[in-house]
Amino acid sequence: MFDDLRDLYQEVILDHGRKPRNFRRLEGANRVARGDNPLCGDRMELFVNVTPEGRIAEAAFQGRGCAISMASASLMTETVQGKTQAEATELAGKFRELAMSGVCPDCGASLADEMERLQPLAGVHEFPSRVKCATLAWHTLNAALADGAEERKATSE
């Protein structure tokens, strides 16, 4: 009955949705942000440890949400590990494009491997009401990395 939904709910997504990786509070994180999707009640807290050289040593999150938002956050924390802040921001932009359109034309240019790992989420573009579920984690990451923000918060709106 739901076979055509396997594009959206690929095994990777269901797996990360059920058992999100890096799902914990990161003690000593030097960047923290909260992400909220007020419409559906999804919420997450993202912890990032950025080295003095500006690399993401570690990222972790806690929260609640649908399979798409949990899987997206889980995959994100894996993908950004070891990246520079600039690379993470670039990934966030490319991911947004992938989630909204299903393709990312200039993904080959840089960070191609990382985008490959995020590819299973491309299916959301066919579900306009679900795109925000996939992008919430990345909005939250942007908020966490933003300079000078006192209280770091992102919403999916």
């Binding site: 009955m1 739901f2 939904l5 959206l8 709910y9 559906c40 009640g41 999804d42 009401s129 579920c133």
Partner: protein, 417 residues
């Protein structure tokens, strides 16, 4: 209207009713549409649509203004709608019916005009845990602005208003207004309005019922209930969007200052001062929802022609069937088990988030709502901060559709396993 709705032993002739709702005949994603989101907004029968079109094509002008034929026609239609709503609610006098934009505006009107005009700092407003945000936020605003206390009556595990807690919170005599729902948009619980009104009155409080759901599912008689204020919204009652109703006892409307200022609501204006028109005009500033009132009247006529007893019997059948079928779905939790419940079911699957579940159901052509249905505190009360899915029934809902839902839920659980 002709008698083709007459209930037989088998209940409503739902097939006939569905012919009045052309939107239901479509397929969605290759499956017949199963529309189970009437509690958010109901579909509109042809009778409503054509009444509105007829008004605009033949008898439309602004009301209460032009001394000419068309304006008189429109004014008559607008005031006839008011009278029809008064009869629908069992009100004694059509002047007690105020047209607003929706239920939300009706409650805000009371919070503004009764809350700020009549209630005093130190008095309290008592709501319940099962309110829609529309019956919470206006009172919070009043509290923050005027120092009126906001109290919250508990809801029991079964999803009913805890009447003992209600009495306890009324006991000190400080509550000036009890504002509670007549039917929960999440639990389907129909609240014991008469009993609540009696308790409120014994404690010297007035009582407002949010009838947004109840007016669709139950025969309402504001006088028999003993209500002081009763609100509902047109679009859930098979009427158009953009029109809501506030009914209030005349002496209360007389004591209340206006809500919005402008045309229609005054009897005289100079730059020094204005004098208010009597109710209901006092509360209807500006050009009112004329065509929408005509549509609402057609909706009220439609529902009345079917008859609430027949509609309730049909709904009872759906509710009983849904209770049985849903309790057979493994891993499914249905919120609330009130004695008196209407056709609204909120549920959660143990292995699927409501959002994922509704995406699956959508693929099966089934429209349900996912989230917290504008009742965040109630979901917190039941430990379901992540929300629920909600299926809600209307006159056109069939037993087969309930089966389709139950089958899809069982398959969805397999899908996520």
């Amino acid at each position: 209207m002709d008698g083709h709705f007459a209930a037989s032993d088998a209940g409503l002739d739902v097939a006939r009713i569905r012919e009045d709702f052309p939107i239901l005949a479509q397929t969605v994603r290759g499956k017949p549409l199963v529309f189970l989101d009437s509690a958010a907004s109901a579909q509109k029968p042809r009778q409503v649509v054509s009444a509105m079109v007829r008004c605009m094509e033949t008898a439309y002008a602004n009301v209460h203004r032009g001394p000419y034929y068309l304006s008189e026609q429109a004014t008559d239609a607008y005031e006839a709608a008011r009278a029809a709503v008064a009869r629908f609610l069992g009100a004694g006098d059509a002047r007690e019916v105020v047209f607003t934009r929706n239920a939300t505006e009706s409650i805000n009107l009371v919070a503004h005009s009764y809350g700020r005009g009549v209630l005093r700092p130190g008095q309290a407003v008592l709501v319940s845990e099962m309110e829609h945000h529309a019956n919470i936020v206006p009172w919070q605003m009043l509290r923050d602005e005027r120092g009126v206390e906001l109290r919250v009556c508990r809801v029991t595990e079964a999803g009913e208003i805890d009447l003992e807690d209600l009495s306890a919170k009324l006991a000190d005599g400080k509550v000036g207004l009890v504002a509670v729902t007549h039917m929960s948009n999440v639990l389907g619980t129909v609240t014991p309005a008469e009993r609540i009104a009696a308790l409120a009155h014994e404690a010297g409080a007035k009582v407002l019922f949010d009838g947004s759901q109840a007016a669709v599912h139950r025969r309402v008689d504001v006088q028999a209930i003993g209500a002081d204020f009763y609100v509902f919204t047109g679009h859930k009652l098979y009427g158009p969007t953009g029109i809501g109703v506030l009914w209030a006892r005349a002496e209360l409307l007389d004591r209340m200052p206006p809500f919005l200022g402008g045309g229609e609501m005054i009897s005289s204006v100079t730059f020094e001062r204005s004098e208010w028109a009597p109710a209901p005009a006092k509360f209807e500033a500006g050009t009112p929802p004329i065509v929408e009132a005509v549509g609402l009247r057609a909706a009220v006529d439609y529902v009345s022609a079917i008859g609430m007893p027949a509609a309730e019997a049909h709904e009872r059948r759906l509710v009983d069937h849904a209770m049985r079928r849903l309790s057979d779905v493994e891993g499914l939790t249905v919120l609330g088990r009130a004695q008196d419940r209407g056709g609204v079911f909120s549920f959660a699957l143990d292995n699927a988030h409501p959002h994922d579940l509704s995406t699956l159901l959508d693929r099966a052509g089934i429209a349900v709502r996912a989230g917290r249905h504008c009742a965040e505190p109630l979901h917190a009360r039941f430990g379901l901060e992540g929300g629920t899915c909600r299926a809600s029934f209307g006159l056109y809902t069939t037993v087969d559709e309930v089966d389709t839902l139950a089958e899809a839920l069982a398959k969805a659980r397999e899908f996520f396993n």
